[in-house]
Amino acid sequence: MGKVWAMTRRDMNKWATYKTQATTSILGGLLGIVSWGLNATFVNRLVPDYNTNYVSFLIVGVLISSLILPLSQGIQGSVSPFTLESILMTGLKAPTFILGTVLWPYILSVVLFLPQLVVGIVYFHATLSVNPVSFVLALVISTTIVFSIAMVSTAFRIVTKTSDPVSWSLAIAASLFSGMTFPVSHLNDYVPGLSTVSWFLPQTWVYHIVRLSTLENASILDANIAISFLIAMIFAVVLLPLAFYVFRWGLNRAKRDGTLGHF
């Protein structure tokens, strides 16, 4: 954990030296939620899937994505030329590297999350009904899923350098099908059965279980809710070892090609 914290502290110190960027990222987060809030109040309607209104539904969706996106963004900065070579020469283990790389962006997003939440509740009257146990469990499962995706993304980025097709595909699929800004059942209004695609995406389950636990006071003792959590957990359990395998593949591929230090 000391190594993870060392990487986090390094990223935090670096972030703090770019004062303009630090200020604009804080302002950007707050203005972003205002923009989403204004949109949501304009088209406000009920969202029966989660027994809530659209403002609450959208704001929670935006907040989840602002918690998740930094995980993959954090990786991009670290797979820069030769950084990886220097880090690997310390004998650091892969999970420590990934965790150390993503922790600061994650902490920053959590810090930004809180004022955004306040803006959402106070100015846009988002109503939350949180079940603490479900929420903690949802966070653990979601973090595992996103962490796994971040590892896969890193592996491909080590090989492909500038961008990776996997995270690009997942990001595109997520924006279309995972239901960040609309309930996935809405897809069926255009193409019957289209929402089925959504449930094959791990991100859909991230949004779903976090919304269940924050909008509906959903208890995991409820069988229907438990099934949702169980499916999300299966995604997490399958994705995590797969991510390790893919990461190792990516690293060895770059070592074989002699392109570890390339960019």
């Binding site: 190594k3 390094r10 030329p81 220097s86 690997l88 310390t90 004998g91 070592k255 074989r256 002699g258």
Partner: protein, 355 residues
């Protein structure tokens, strides 16, 4: 008899790389879709040989130089030993540890200084960067602090330790790289072109640091890659001459020079030379028995005079050369005869390999 322990061993190491291709390859001016998909999925294509059955050993405490032109495969050898590149076949050991099978064990014993591969955070100070790497190397905080102070003093960096890395000169950055390489007290150190891009004073300091401080005082085993012949001769105990991924010769600088011990170099300063006579002079001297080559240079130290560098076999009859020059109205004002240098040996080995 007990075998002398080896710090580094390379056994029949082979490495090829894919040749970078472009979309127009093999199809003239038009973009080939077949090529596009081949490149995208890394299929087929030519490979270039970076290392071809390379084998050598470095003894503990030795300073060993890999001497070769750019593209000879020196950096590939260092990167394989540093666990950053995987070989196609063959074995590489660091203090008996197989580097491909046990990379984490390897980097506990070996650290590298790649000039281009700094990996330092530019917005942090030198000290903060070292503290970061010390934590990653698993050094306890108190021990790390003491070690960093010691290394900063050792490399003469104490005064600049708390300055942002982005303000460092090339020489200071190189010294910080050495500090990082020494953090874990690794016994084997690799240097890739250690004095490239350094000014002459910084380069001389750095050579002293490698030879005197790291090798002689600290007893480190050092493997360095360089194309600087003088540097190799000055600081290396032994040298391997490398060309196109092959080892051409291994030995002490003196042993390497023995490859051309049957040669002699003659340097003459002559007066009355005119450039129009270049062909005549060259032909006349090359006609002398035992002369292998001649080079005609303007002598910048003496106005109006010209320097003739003549290479010949041992036992070359100088009198015949003087007679030839005299017959061409060239007056010899000075003569220097020298034994072949490492450069001569290096060139001879490369020419033979090319042939």
């Amino acid at each position: 008899m007990v075998d002398e322990p080896m710090a580094i061993q390379l056994l029949d190491l082979r490495k090829t790389y894919k040749v970078f291709r472009n979309l127009r390859e093999g199809s003239g001016a038009t973009v080939s879709f077949v090529n596009f998909f081949r490149i995208l999925f890394g299929l087929g294509g030519q490979r270039t040989v970076a290392l071809d059955s390379v084998s050598f050993s470095v003894k503990k405490g030795e300073v060993f130089g890999l001497l070769g032109p750019n593209g000879a495969g020196k950096t590939t050898m260092l990167k394989i030993l540093s666990t950053l590149v995987l070989p196609d076949s063959g074995k590489a050991y660091v203090e008996g540890i197989d580097v491909t099978r046990r990379p984490r064990e390897t980097v506990k014993r070996l650290q590298s200084v790649f000039a281009e591969s700094q990996g330092f955070e530019r917005r942090l100070t030198g000290r903060e960067n070292l503290e970061f790497f010390a934590t990653l190397l698993g050094l306890p905080k108190k021990q790390a602090k003491a070690r960093i102070d010691e290394l900063l003093t050792f490399t003469g960096m104490t005064d600049r330790a708390d300055v942002m890395f982005q303000r460092y000169s090339t020489g200071m950055a190189r010294r910080l790289l050495v500090c990082r390489a020494l953090l874990s007290n690794a016994s084997v150190l690799l240097f890739d072109e250690p004095t490239a891009a350094l000014d002459p004073i910084a380069a001389a300091d750095f050579r002293k640091l490698i030879r005197h401080d790291l090798a002689d005082k600290e007893g480190k085993t050092i493997l360095l890659a360089t194309h600087n012949l003088w540097e190799a001769e000055q600081i290396c105990d032994r040298i391997a001459v490398v060309r196109k991924g092959r080892i051409l010769a291994v030995g002490t600088p003196e042993e390497i020079k023995k490859n051309v011990s049957d040669r002699v170099n003659l340097s003459l300063i002559v007066l009355n030379y005119s450039p129009q006579a270049a062909k005549t002079v060259t032909e006349a001297i090359l006609a002398v028995r035992g002369v292998l080559g001649i080079e005609i240079l303007e002598d910048r130290d003496h106005e109006g005079s010209t320097r003739l560098n003549i290479e010949g076999v041992k036992g070359l009859n100088y009198n015949v050369i003087f007679q030839k020059l005299s017959s061409l109205n060239l007056e010899v004002t000075s003569l220097e005869s020298s034994q072949p240098s490492l450069e001569d040996a290096f060139l001879k080995l490369n020419l033979e390999a090319a042939a």
